[in-house]
Symmetry: C2
Subunit: 149 residues, 2 copies
């Protein structure tokens, strides 16, 4: 496992992952959060509100950003401090998404990294999440302790 | 079910819910998102990074805001448009939280509502999430269609 290491980060470093927003993930998030807004859960309601089918929870797109930050860039050990985000277009059930984070600023002294965060529909220019995240990289007190390696 | 109805919202309207961040919710979110950052999953790593025990994913606190918006205030039909948030203190596994949203501004013409969003540790002044959300309330094309009632 590659620990988050602020000294190795450079502006422009980028990581990405894919995400399929399917029935299973919608139901799993509704159960986990208690958010069973019928816009997400009921096809008739979604159509009646003007959408072609059910709209996914915005947090499913954001969950891919959480994954990138916690596992890839900056990676294991990272602590999310703040996030600004917009959902410019709805994610629909069945959408395949491409999430990306890229390093915008590195504050070595403060141990803070600012990232651009974006999620698009795959193979399309449609942005479903845009924003910025600030992440703190805690100091590893005993770098020899890497139980997952 | 009470649909989101922007004409009935008043500045200061508030809704709240409780949330227990336990082992089960941590594992469920790690599986759903793919975010298995050892800060969240491994007690030894969390201690080595300076925390008393595992830190929960920030999105678990945010999921309670998603629930309040989608089910209580503004409620069913609401569409999350944007969110600014800070995580001023970490949520630790086992924490009981109290989430709250309150109406800060209502733009009837635009169909938009701005909410203050906050999550605290229960019975404490420790704020673990603070910020604001903007929510759009789509126009119900056929108000008679309320399949969940």
């Amino acid at each position: 496992m590659q620990w988050a290491d602020i000294s190795r980060l450079k502006i422009g470093d980028t990581a990405s992952c894919e995400l399929l927003v399917d029935e299973r993930s919608l139901v799993a998030f509704a159960e986990l959060s208690g958010d069973d807004n019928p816009l997400h859960m009921d096809e008739n309601v979604a159509r009646n509100l003007g959408f072609p089918c059910r709209v996914a929870h915005g947090m499913l797109a954001l969950s891919a950003i959480s994954r990138l930050i916690g596992t890839q860039l900056p990676g294991p050990g990272s602590l999310w401090i703040s996030q600004e985000l917009k959902f410019p277009a709805p994610v629909l059930v069945g959408d395949a998404l491409l999430a990306r984070v890229s390093v915008e600023r590195v504050s070595l002294a403060a141990g803070l990294v600012k990232l651009q965060t974006e999620v698009r529909k795959r193979g399309s220019d449609t942005i479903v999440l845009s924003g910025t995240a600030t992440v703190r990289i805690p100091h590893l007190q005993n770098p020899a302790t890497t139980p997952h390696e």
